[in-house]
Symmetry: D4
Subunit: 149 residues, 8 copies
């Protein structure tokens, strides 16, 4: 059993690396959005031509990124969504809703300060974790039945 | 043609009333979440028993509210999601993602200050508006072909 | 908003009547399986001919009942599954699984003595209640936003 | 043709081993839930933190196990559900209903003492067997056309 | 509960009338194909222009009839398929397969002389009957729980 | 049986009126796109604000019109697509492909001069007609079994 | 591109071998039902126990065969259904209907004597052929674009 | 992540080769229709027998081509549709609509002269490009996050 996992959300800390490295040896394949903030913001206009209006600048980029994001979510068994400490992160919550509607197993990862604000997202999840280590432990358990010591 | 419209998101201003009243005479049926903030927060424990831990207090409520929210979205043709000026509003973005994954027509309503942060949500929408009046005009056009003067 | 509710499970107490009567005045439509135990057991052979082998006697009846059960679940928004004090009640758990796979909102109703044995079913539910009154309160809240005093 | 088979249900006898070993040489891939009873019960709290309330203790575990269970069922062609002699085994019946709603081919395995209580589950099955050997023979026939001597 | 029933198959006896009349007073709505044999055969060329080649003559008619047939099956809860004594009746078996793939409840109606030849169709059915009266009794039971005397 | 019919395509002749008037007395409900060419082109900017770039001017309008078009197609049993004598009419062919992918019954209406260019669209249709009168006759036959004299 | 092809229907001539051998070198994978007539008829009772009543004898076998048949159809891109000269062959027509409802590409193979009786099945097909050689040529064209000399 | 891309539309220039060659080294698999115009037009009658009527000549060919086209689209993650300078190209727009209804990521490729006529198609796309190089850059970005210099 290969578990296909999509890692959505916050791009300013190394949580993805922690999960990928912690999962070494497990039969998991990971996908992620493009996590280079500048590339992600400007990809549309860099490839398809400049836009003087910021709305369309962003629209071009967001639609191009959606090719990767939707494939990542639709191909996955599990979607992990990380909410960090800063920014609105509405795209993370959007991905969580998208994944929930498709019946994907949802793992939400956030600190206690966001507990109340994320209650609807957490209520749709099968796992709510605070630390990437817990996500690794959950993936290991799902794949092998092994629990942490 | 009756257009079924679900009004998701911000609950602290009268945007829903503006849309419902502005749509008088149109063949639209509206659904909304429970918009009484206190009731929405406490419904789970009030009906199903108190929880000492805030996480489960919120989980009980969020799951109960999900019965209404999911039916509202799944029954609808159009989902309007309003992002207000305050709070994280992750449930609004979650609803938008949920609606998008189900192929619902999405109308997003927000001020220009949120443009960049909502670019992924806007990119999934068929209409991005700033004012509830525009939503009414859009619904009127969809139903009757009439444009504003 | 009419809420379509299917009442599955235990047929030896009056929990269905309590919910239907308690919901008077609400915009709910209820469906149920045939709750006459003898008719439900013998319907197949009574209509389609006797079977000397109990297995086929039961198969004929169970398949005929499935026409009603599946329509009831598939047409519903909410499936309430009641587990009583006696019997194996595997058909109740089967209905719960069937409803969960279809994405129906699941309400499970059982006493505390079954808590551990029903943990997988409860984990798939949006509401876990012990008393039919709570189900009525939940339906009222979902439909009207009103909480019990 | 590789046949993907999920083995659901009873975890206290060696029926899974009998089927897996009996199927040696056939093009079958098997998946199962975590069958270590203690790990399965406690996985949630071991990874995600202790819960004083047994209900939430169990909820955390059941949801974590659901990641594996649902993937196992959704990925499969055939779901074998075994009902043993003891316990309520509502999760087995839940899995059977879940599989049936997804249109999976269902094989039910149980002794004659459970025949009447399982009539609705059996009626949804393509094979009802009493012995793991019969399941192996059925898989062999499906894959190769060979019948037992 | 209105039960939507599509009556497919043999068009040379009055079995449809027997079922419709026998169901008087029940909350059932019936749909059928066009049962005028000559009209059904020639509808395509009568409306869309003559074809010298019988294959295309038939193709035009069969496709036009498919508008009604597919809507009838797709809108239904129950599909009753009658196999009569004569002809190949492959369209009846095709409808049965179509209905089965859509998860419709299937009732098959045929005499004992066709039992072996229809074993795959019967195996997909929830009810196998020999007499239209049994179909009426089955529909009455499904809708009201009442059994024949 | 009410037949829901969506009338897509060419907007410069009165073919829709011919079909609607010819169908008087039949149990059909018709939906159409907005057929006022100027309103359809400018609706986006009139409601949501002007765009200096024609591409975004058109994008705003096309997305707003898509709310009506997609609902019309998704709600329908039959989609009639008319190709006229002029213009590229790619939106008509797009609607035909959209309808085909959803499994809608497709009726294509065009003159013989377009036969070869429309071969892929015609091949996906159940009826290919040259005259709106034939569409009316086809709808009458589907609903009532009556053929033209 | 590997084309997955299911070969349904008549089991008394070597048409499957002709197609499989003719397709040597093409990127096709073929699946078929069990074509040993006696094994197919008796598989149920041989594995699951004898039945005195021929109806249940056949039911057990037909359901066991359905595991293979449904997987074969559901996994395929193309379903070829062959109608031979003898027998009712309702299972072939059932498979054709099942495949059509799932949106599979249907190829029907039969002699001209069955043309009228198979008009509804042919109308649902993308290819109607008389000779297995034509099926091979069609598969070769689909995969490589090469036409017969 | 392998991206599956279907290249639909215009067959008279080398845009497919440009994209395939430009994508060397990327993890993409490409599918296309048969692009030999004469073979595509005549395949039906060459394999299945001549037709005196051009309509049926074309119908046979278009249906045979549909086996490849639909598999290509249904198997893909991304559908690129190219509109060239000549012809009606209704099959390209049909494919775009088909892909959109299935939720595929749509890339539209056309010159500025077609902008207004393609506004509904473009509005359903995630990328609108003028040059095959941009499509290559978009695929590279989606797969690797790398932007052009």
């Amino acid at each position: 059993m290969t578990l296909k996992v999509y890692l959505s959300g916050e791009i300013h800390t190394d949580w993805r690396e922690q999960i990928v490295e912690g999962s070494a040896g497990l039969d998991v394949s990971f996908q992620s959005p493009v996590t280079d903030h500048a590339a992600s913001d400007d990809c549309g206009v860099r490839i398809l031509g400049a836009e003087p209006d910021k709305f369309w600048h962003d629209a071009k980029g967001a639609k191009l990124n959606a090719i990767r994001t939707r494939k990542g979510i639709e191909d996955s068994d599990v979607v992990v969504v990380r909410f960090g400490e800063k920014y609105k992160q509405w795209n993370a919550a959007f991905d969580a809703g998208y994944a929930a509607a498709l019946g994907k197993s949802l793992i939400v990862l956030h600190g206690p300060e966001h507990q109340h604000a994320l209650k609807e997202v957490d209520a749709a999840a099968l796992v709510v974790a605070e630390d990437p280590k817990q996500v690794v432990q959950a993936l290991r358990y799902v794949l092998t039945g092994a629990l942490p010591d």
